[in-house]
C-alpha cells in the first residue's frame, strides 16, 4: 500500500514559500518550452496549411524556391496543353504562370524594413487558391498597378491599408484589397497582376507555374510528366509538398528552442531536486517512522517522486494559464528559401500543451528521483535519530 497522497499534498502546503518558489521556477521553464513549441507549431501551420493537394507547382530544374526559379514562356505554353488539367466554369484551363519577387517594406513601427514576397498572379491563380478570400476592398484589375495584401502582412507593415501606395519597380502601386489566406504562407504575400509586374521588370520570366489537376491521380501524373520531360527541363511537385519543404526556415527557431529548453530544463530539474532534498532532510524522522511502521522502501520512493510530480503538474497548469493568452498572437520570421518575411501566429495546440506536460513530468521525475531514492534507502536508525 502506498503512503497516502494527502501526506504529500499537505506537506507541500506546509512549506508554502519554498513550494511556491519551486513551482514558479518550473512554471517559467515550462512556459518557455510551450512558447517555443507554439512558435514552431505556428510556423509549421503556416506552411503545412499552404497549398492544395490538387495543385501542381512547376519550377525551373533544380530550383528549390520560386525566387530562384525561371520558366521559359514557351514552356508555359506547353504546360497549358498537358492532360489532366482542370478547367474553370468558362472552360479555361486552371494554369497560372506566376512571377515571384521580393520587395522591401517598412515595418509598422517604422524602425526597420523587411523583405516581403510579391507575387504576380492571374485570375486563374486566384481561382486555384480557394483558401484565399477577399475580406476588404477588391481584387486587383488586370493591367493595373494595383495590389491585394495578405491580412497578416498588413498588420505588421506600414502604409499597407487600402488606398495607400507602395513604391517599387517603375513607380507607385495602389492597394485596393486585403485577402485572408487562412493562416497559410500566402497571408505573408502581396499579390498583383502578373503581366503588370512583368512589364515593370522587363527581363523577368515566370518564376513558377501552378496547375490544378482534375483529381489526385492526375496531379501525381502531371507532377511526374513535368519532371520526366527532358525537353522542358522543369521540376514538378505538389504545391503542398513544396510548402512542407519550406518549414526548414523554422530550423533556427527549432534549434534555439531546443537548446533553450534543455538548458532551462536542467536548471529546473536542479530546482526541483533541491526542493525535494530539503523535504527529505526535514522529514528524516517521519521517513524513519514510516519505515518502522512497515512502509517499504518502494512506497517511500514512490511517495517522494509523486510529491515532485505534483509540483510540476501544478507548475505546468500555471504555465498553460500564463501562456494561453498568447495563442493566436502574430509574429514573423525570415524564410531562408525566399529571403522574405513569413508571418504566422503562435499556436497553443493540444500537442503543444501535451509536450509541455511531458517535459514537466520528465523534469519532475528526474528532479525527484534522486532525493526519493535517498529517502527510501537511508538507515531507519539514522533517520529516527534526526
Amino acid at each position: 500500500m502506498a503512503v497516502p497522497i494527502r501526506y504529500n499534498i499537505r506537506n507541500l502546503k506546509l512549506r508554502k514559500g519554498q513550494t511556491c518558489m519551486t513551482i514558479l521556477g518550473v512554471a517559467l521553464t515550462v512556459a518557455a518550452v510551450m512558447f517555443l513549441a507554439a512558435l514552431r507549431a505556428g510556423l509549421n501551420r503556416a506552411f503545412v496549411h499552404t497549398g492544395d493537394p490538387l495543385n501542381v507547382l512547376v519550377l525551373g530544374k533544380g530550383a528549390d524556391s520560386e525566387i530562384a526559379s525561371d520558366i521559359p514562356h514557351e514552356a508555359l505554353q506547353i504546360l497549358r496543353t498537358l492532360p489532366g488539367i482542370a478547367t474553370n466554369s468558362k472552360g479555361e484551363p486552371l494554369v497560372s504562370g506566376e512571377l515571384v519577387l521580393v520587395i522591401l517594406l517598412p515595418r509598422e513601427d517604422g524602425l526597420s524594413e523587411a523583405n516581403v514576397t510579391l507575387r504576380g498572379t492571374s485570375a486563374q491563380g486566384i481561382e486555384l487558391r480557394p483558401g484565399a478570400r477577399l475580406v476588404r476592398g477588391r481584387w486587383f484589375n488586370p493591367g493595373q498597378r494595383e495590389l491585394a495584401v495578405g491580412a497578416a502582412l498588413q498588420k505588421r507593415f506600414a502604409r499597407t491599408a487600402i488606398g495607400e501606395s507602395v513604391q517599387f519597380g517603375k513607380g507607385p502601386w495602389k492597394i485596393v484589397g486585403v485577402f485572408d489566406a487562412s493562416g497559410s504562407a500566402y497571408d505573408s504575400e502581396i499579390w498583383s497582376d502578373v503581366n503588370q509586374i512583368t512589364s515593370d521588370y522587363t527581363t523577368a520570366q515566370p518564376s513558377s507555374v501552378y496547375m490544378r489537376a482534375t483529381d489526385s491521380a492526375a496531379a501525381d501524373a502531371l507532377k511526374h510528366r513535368v519532371s520526366d520531360d527532358q525537353r522542358l527541363q522543369l521540376d514538378g511537385m505538389l504545391e503542398t509538398e513544396y510548402y512542407a519543404e519550406q518549414t526548414k526556415s523554422g530550423a533556427p527557431i527549432k534549434f534555439v528552442g531546443l537548446t533553450v529548453a534543455i538548458i532551462m530544463g536542467i536548471g529546473s530539474c536542479f530546482a526541483a531536486m533541491n526542493t525535494m532534498f530539503a523535504a527529505v532532510a526535514n522529514r528524516r524522522r517521519e521517513i524513519g517512522t514510516l519505515r518502522l511502521l512497515g512502509f517499504s522502501r518502494a512506497s517511500i520512493l514512490a511517495s517522494f517522486v509523486l510529491e515532485s510530480l505534483l509540483i510540476v503538474v501544478i507548475a505546468t497548469a500555471l504555465a498553460i494559464l500564463v501562456v494561453m493568452p498568447f495563442n493566436g498572437i502574430m509574429t514573423g520570421t525570415s524564410n531562408a528559401a525566399t529571403f522574405s518575411e513569413v508571418v504566422f501566429t503562435l499556436q497553443m495546440t493540444p500537442s503543444v500543451m501535451g509536450t509541455a506536460l511531458l517535459f514537466g513530468l520528465i523534469m519532475g521525475l528526474t528532479g525527484g528521483f534522486v532525493p526519493a531514492w535517498r529517502a527510501a534507502h537511508q538507515s531507519i536508525v539514522g533517520a529516527l535519530r534526526a
Partner: protein
C-alpha cells in the same frame, strides 16, 4: 500451536517459546577508525505477557537493543527470535511486513506525522493490511477510545498536548494488535502528570490485554510500573542481582 509466517524458513512454532529470545547479541558501531561496542554478548528472554523495564545510563545500549528487537538494525553477532521469527534472517521487505504485523513502537518524541490528524496517524499501520476502510475506521476508533482520545481524532498533533500526542502514539502502536510493544523512553518528554497517564495506559495494556511490553527508561518511577526490571551497563546486561 500457531505459526505465523512472513517468509519461509524464518518462522518457528511459537507455543512454548518466549516472546523475545536474545542470544549472545553483540553490536559494534564503526565510526571512522574507531570501534564502539554498544552491546556485548547480551542474552535475555522475555516471556509472553511480561512487562519489562530496561534501565541503564545513557550510552548503555538500551535503545540499540530495542532497535535490534524491532528488526530495524542488525547485530554484529548473535541471534534474535521474536514472536517465533528469526528476525535477522528476514530481508528488508520481509522485515517491514513483519514489523507491521508484530511490533508496536512508542518513541520518546512521539514521532507522529505532523500533517496527519490523530485518526490518520493511528490508521497508518492499518493501510498496510487488507482491512477495508470501514474496518480500519473501527480499529482506529477502538484504539483511540482505549487511550481516551476518541474525541480528538480530527486534531493535528500540534493541537494536542504532549501527553495526548503520546497517547495517540500508543494508539498507533496497538492498532494492529501486535505481539510486542516496544517503548523507548515513552515518558522522557512529558511532565509528571502526563507521564503517569502514559504509564497507566501501558500498565493496562499489560494487565488487561496481556501485551508483552519492553520499555526502555532511565526513570525509576516509570520502571516501577513494570513486572521485571533489567539493567544494562556499558553494553552488558547485569544479572538480576546486579552483577554482570
Amino acid at each position: 500451536m500457531t505459526t505465523a509466517s512472513v517468509a519461509p524458513n524464518t518462522s518457528i512454532a511459537t507455543t512454548d517459546l518466549p516472546a523475545v529470545a536474545v542470544r549472545n547479541v553483540t553490536k559494534v558501531f564503526r565510526r571512522d577508525s574507531i570501534e564502539l561496542k554498544v552491546l556485548d554478548d547480551v542474552s535475555i528472554e522475555i516471556g509472553n505477557g511480561d512487562f519489562v523495564a530496561l534501565m541503564g545510563p545513557s550510552g548503555s545500549g538500551k535503545t540499540t537493543l530495542l532497535n535490534l528487537i524491532a528488526g530495524v538494525d542488525r547485530p554484529t553477532a548473535g541471534d534474535l527470535i521474536v514472536s517465533g521469527y528469526n528476525v535477522f534472517a528476514l530481508n528488508d521487505g520481509q522485515a517491514a511486513r513483519w514489523r507491521n504485523q508484530h511490533i508496536g513502537y512508542v518513541f520518546q518524541t512521539f514521532n507522529l506525522i505532523p500533517v496527519l490528524t490523530a485518526f490518520e496517524n493511528v490508521e497508518l499501520p492499518l493501510l498496510l493490511t487488507t482491512l477495508s476502510p470501514s474496518q480500519r475506521r473501527e480499529h482506529v476508533i477502538a484504539a483511540l477510545r482505549l487511550v481516551g482520545l476518541e474525541d480528538r481524532m480530527k486534531h493535528l498533533p500540534r493541537q494536542l498536548s504532549g501527553g495526548q500526542e503520546q497517547r495517540v502514539a500508543i494508539a498507533r502502536a496497538i492498532v494492529t494488535d501486535p505481539t510486542l510493544i516496544l517503548a523507548d523512553e515513552p515518558t522522557g518528554d512529558l511532565d509528571s502528570q502526563s507521564a503517569t497517564e502514559i504509564l497507566e495506559v501501558l500498565k493496562r495494556l499489560s494487565q488487561q490485554f496481556g501485551k508483552t511490553i519492553i520499555m526502555v527508561t532511565h526513570d525509576p518511577r516509570a520502571a516501577s510500573y513494570a513486572h521485571i526490571i533489567r539493567h544494562l551497563e556499558k553494553g552488558r546486561l547485569l544479572s538480576n542481582d546486579g552483577n554482570r
